[in-house]
Symmetry: C2
Amino acid sequence: MSDTPIFRRLALLGLGLIGSSVARAVKKHGLAGEIAGHARSAETRAKALELGFVDSVHEDPAVAVAGADCVMICTPLGSYKSVAEAMAPGLAKGAIVTDVGSVKGSVIRDLAPLLPETVHFIPGHPLAGTEHSGPESGFAELFEGRFCLLTPPPGADEAAIDRLTRLWQGMGSTVETMNAEHHDQVLAIVSHLPHLIAYTIVGTATDLEDDLKSEVIKFSATGFRDFTRIAASDPVMWRDVFLNNKEAVLNVIQRFNEDLTALQRAIRWGEADKLQDLFTRTRAIRRGIIDANQA
Amino acid sequence: MSDTPIFRRLALLGLGLIGSSVARAVKKHGLAGEIAGHARSAETRAKALELGFVDSVHEDPAVAVAGADCVMICTPLGSYKSVAEAMAPGLAKGAIVTDVGSVKGSVIRDLAPLLPETVHFIPGHPLAGTEHSGPESGFAELFEGRFCLLTPPPGADEAAIDRLTRLWQGMGSTVETMNAEHHDQVLAIVSHLPHLIAYTIVGTATDLEDDLKSEVIKFSATGFRDFTRIAASDPVMWRDVFLNNKEAVLNVIQRFNEDLTALQRAIRWGEADKLQDLFTRTRAIRRGIIDANQA
């Protein structure tokens, strides 16, 4: 533990992949004096104590957040309202309330009105994850070398932003701030649409006749195998992402659909040049990502 | 080199990722007495000699195949006809002619009529590859632990199938035979559609406004980054795949489109159960693949 933890008491509401990884990283780097955890299921609470990544577990969110100077919501977006209502009575004055959800506009819209004005509300989103879920699947290194995006509402307290920034930096992340609407647009393209497409294509395969399906599983070449990994991600979390970022996601589906229809037409009419031209242009984006050290 | 190479002289027509990997694997395991290479470009031929994975290079396919008991076409599907016409005069009696193309129906349809009846034509398809292209990108281990599918036409010589099977097994692959039409259906789902989708989604991102595009590159989270890797695959090879497996690919695009439209509708109308149900079912396919040791 470091000499000066950034927070005295960190309350984690939700102890799945992300919550349990935050706990492990915070412990590893001594970023909080103690960690209080809340999970709805008794099984998860028992598992968290057994694995030892929290110091205490609480069935009641209000008890978990009592005395905490940082509260981080790590549950699926769909449960934010009920979690916020349940914890609000316990919130300490001056506490930072943050989250790790993949959508930020709806979080600000839904959560802000439920929080007392005495807390600092700074939504966050670590761009990290795996296709595994649950308290056993977390690990302390999950956020190392990854971005964490903060979307403080206008007028948010600079000192609070700074403390939260140092927390994520302490876990190994690069922190950037941006406005929530812009965040949701960017994520709709880099994360939400790819997940939706992966779910769709694996779903299409799921509906195949049994003999064809078993061969698809057997001979899953590189392309399809990558999609199945993405499509094995947590169903509840992703259901909530799509429902909460509806507008931006429907917008990019529309663009994607137009582009797929154009390709479909090019295949049908044997337009070789059109296909080759697109396939050549897409290489440039990959090079951009490799140059940006994200590959 | 092993005491009993399977082939006396292997001729490789095309020395890109796959051709150069075959050459390296065959050399590593001593599966052929000598390897003759052909590539259309003088630069590639010089590179192949410099890297030393072939024993000789030839501008004329007919010279490359002269005296070869195995001829393997490793060029993009679109050049098969011209390669076959050019090499036909040089083919030795009793030679096995095979290929590594991702589509098999069109190969049998287009190639068989161009070959003398004195050779054994056994099309093949190793389910292996990377997003890199060219003679420098090959490596001897590319086929280890991967499937190689052979699609011998009805009445094909059993001894020839057996020899070719041993060649791929010698490179570390598991060999299965199936009919060409069935191969093309399975591959349309496990490989061709995923590549088409990846090209489309990365193309959609390519067309974004510049500031949004640079952020997409910067914050490319897991999902999108996987797609860009797939969409960096060889443009000419993939153009030819789609043009040569048109029917099966258009059929799966159609299915995919219906499924995507249903999801799009579920998002628009907030049908949470429908989303969660699909996202849960897709996990089962992933488990199937993990159980089949392909993940």
